[in-house]
Symmetry: C2
Subunit: 451 residues, 2 copies
């Protein structure tokens, strides 16, 4: 194998040897496929996909990370994109179309198989954090007047097609399309062929409404050992199935997105194959807010310029106090975000969290304060200066963990996004407070410090 799979890929695409290209892509691990796609430019990606059969191209698109899939579909002509989307599972269709700009999305939907386009439009109405946004519309349903043997025959006849469906359950519907029962594949095996499905099925099966939020779906699968749950409309009509694996994946994606937002990767996942303009603009949108907040916080220092002029050594310690308070606060933010996502703390339990953080803040503040006061003493030989910077850090550590621990809860209970806003709020407030504590104490002890 070549060291550079993208070179082999584009080479085979240009030689128009469809079979060898498809075989080669198939032979790559999914990580190597993603790696290769990452290194192709937009035009080369189009060439590679266009050189493959739609089914093979669809497999490639399912294999790579979501951010890449979206870029791949964007790079295609309408007809090419439609041909590939036609053979993708319904949930992927909707996700990818949602990533396209409106005119391209409309054109692609118009060029798709009408049946597939209808499914994609239906799913496209729901955001990725409700049942409608993560369900699939491929499932097996049989009318309630059938016998088990008929179900078995149908399964046998279409074994090939249904093998794509991850069949675990067969749903039984009324003449109006309402869900009335569910058969586990296991039950189909164990029951006699002559029995009616209504005798064997589990009747009044559990189902979820199409607007059920992701968090409730996770709860549902925690409480029930099912592989999937049927999704119904208000009138009880069966329209899809949410799989256990899909909810877990959606939660993971949400969690990964949160972690990226915390450190300032906003507006969606960044891959370095994206254009410099997009990468720069997204990062700056977060950095520029932060620099303004930073300037505001540092203006506290400007208020104490006279004190600083007399005790220049303080300038060495201000960045340390700012950075260490930020570190302590971020630990508390991380624990709060994690506890919120595990459900072991509720957004209204601000006082509980403050008490639990306060005690850790006092202990850690004292230890860090002693360390910094020793550094201050060693560096200046002045025990008062050591005491001032140590005490300021100790107190500010308590402030930082209190803010870091409670702000995510306060933001969440107001419906705001803790991943995005906790960090900037934390650093601004703790910086201001840390600078104020250090410099106001120094002003009070100015005679001792300037001596």
């Amino acid at each position: 194998m070549s060291e550079k799979p993208w070179e082999t890929m584009i080479d085979l695409a240009r030689k128009a040897s469809r079979e060898r290209l498809e075989e080669y892509v198939d032979s790559l691990s999914s990580a190597d496929t993603a790696w290769a796609i990452e290194r192709l430019d937009v035009e080369e990606r189009r060439e590679v996909l266009a050189a493959m059969a739609p089914e093979a191209a669809a497999e490639l698109i399912e294999e790579v990370p979501d951010a890449q899939s979206a870029e791949l579909i964007e790079s295609l002509e309408t007809a090419e994109a439609a041909a590939i989307l036609n053979v993708l599972p319904s949930a992927d269709q909707a996700d990818l179309i949602a990533e396209l700009e409106d005119p391209q999305a409309e054109a692609v939907l118009a060029a798709m198989d009408p049946e597939e386009a209808r499914g994609a439009r239906l799913l496209g109405q729901y955001p990725p954090d409700v049942a409608g946004g993560i369900m699939v519309t491929e499932f097996l349903a049989f009318p309630e007047d059938r016998a088990i043997g008929e179900v078995l025959d149908e399964l046998r006849r279409n074994a090939m097609q249904y093998s794509d469906y991850d069949v675990q359950y067969v749903y039984i519907t009324s003449a109006a399309g309402e869900l009335v029962g569910v058969l586990r594949l296991r039950d189909v095996v164990l029951a006699g062929a002559e029995r009616k499905v209504t005798e064997v099925m589990l009747s009044s099966p559990l189902s979820v409404r199409i607007d059920t939020p992701l968090q409730s779906l996770v709860e549902f699968f925690n409480d029930h050992a099912f592989f999937g749950v049927p999704v119904v409309l208000e009138d009880g009509r069966l329209v899809g199935v949410v799989k256990r694996s899909a909810t877990r994946q959606a939660m993971t994606e949400q969690e990964v997105g949160d972690h990226l937002k915390v450190v300032g990767i906003v507006g969606g996942e960044e891959l370095r194959s994206m254009s410099t303009l997009i990468r720069s603009r997204r990062r700056l949108s977060w950095l520029s807010v932060n620099i303004l907040l930073n300037i505001a916080a540092a203006s506290v220092i400007a208020l104490y310029q006279d004190t600083l002029a007399q005790v220049i050594a303080l300038a060495v310690f201000l960045p340390i106090i700012s950075d260490m308070s930020g570190c302590s606060g971020n630990q508390a933010v991380a624990v709060s975000m994690r506890e919120l996502s595990l459900g072991v703390v509720k957004p209204f339990e601000v006082l509980h969290v403050a008490a639990k953080e306060g005690i850790v803040g006092v202990v850690n503040g004292m230890v860090l304060g002693v360390l910094l006061s020793l550094a201050g003493l060693l560096y200046t030989g002045n025990p008062y200066l050591g005491a001032v910077v140590g005490a300021a850090l100790a107190m500010n550590t308590v402030v930082a963990v209190l803010i870091g621990g409670t702000v995510p809860l306060l933001l969440r209970s107001r419906g705001l996004d803790p991943a995005l806003a906790s960090g900037p709020i934390l650093t601004t407030v703790t910086d201001m407070c840390g600078f104020f504590l250090t410099l106001s104490m120094a002003s009070l002890l100015l005679e001792r410090l300037a001596a």
Copy 2:
């Protein structure tokens, strides 16, 4: 329902009304169960678990987050812990026993059912990032001389017991226990009862060795649409099954652990129900390293004390330059960690990443530099001061993204943990560099600045 489920729980436990307690716990959502456990102290947790049947207690333990499960088992007497562990799936047994201190672990293993203990010991030998550490030892295996009808009969007879196994596949073994074939449940349904399993089974099935790393298992399931893969020893004997869902969960746990480490939650997940001592000690182990690095970085400021004394305004800008460079660098760290975990960048591609980051660094550095130089000008009225702090931030932004982008790759390629070390390395180097750039330029332009 009471507002405080932990009060109801401990109440029912103390009234020794096992049935009502079990019903109540069963009625709670898994998040509320975790919430309640979080609020009980060690002794109360023991009371609750001891008041439940081992099967019900095991269900509770499977439901709550891993960090809580471990604490729950620790809180129990040997016999109580053994009774609950006996009824847990093998993978959970091993995970929980691994969390116990050695003497308790040995005592619990000795008190367990010998068969269960043997399985737990086997799995306990493997870390959670190889097949042996995440496989289950509950699976269905039949000798190769059986007929399909016999398999079906056996499935029917033990339908209840096997329903716990998530049966998707039936494995066929030789007399020596070697894996020779696999039957999908679907195939069992579709084939006639009189046929031999060897005629229907897929022979030479894919399997993985017990020491296969997690990353390869993820690749395996990306490349093959299976629900599980059989795990074999060196000699080909079948010992377990790794499920697709288990690899995904293990990856998610690794990713969550990485994100916690990045912000300084080290030594395992922290829940606020843990003792203050443990929480404080773990957080301090990371903070104390950071404060030393911070002091080292700030010592650069001390070298330029004379410059600072003449241009006090610089003290306002040093924390801003430190913080903003850290922000820019952390964005680059996050993108690199994410690209590494997606496989779209390889650890040796340092130059590629440096090129991609460098260009973003130049653009963002210029924008941020202009903003900061305007702030400098507005604040001091001195355009030279604005130019110095702006130029320093611009240059240091490039340094920060280069270090942030490449350090995770360099650490990974040396087998070190990028999640743990990237942050401290980044902030130390960028702080030193930022302070040096600002203060050395200021020293060169001292006449203009002090004017």
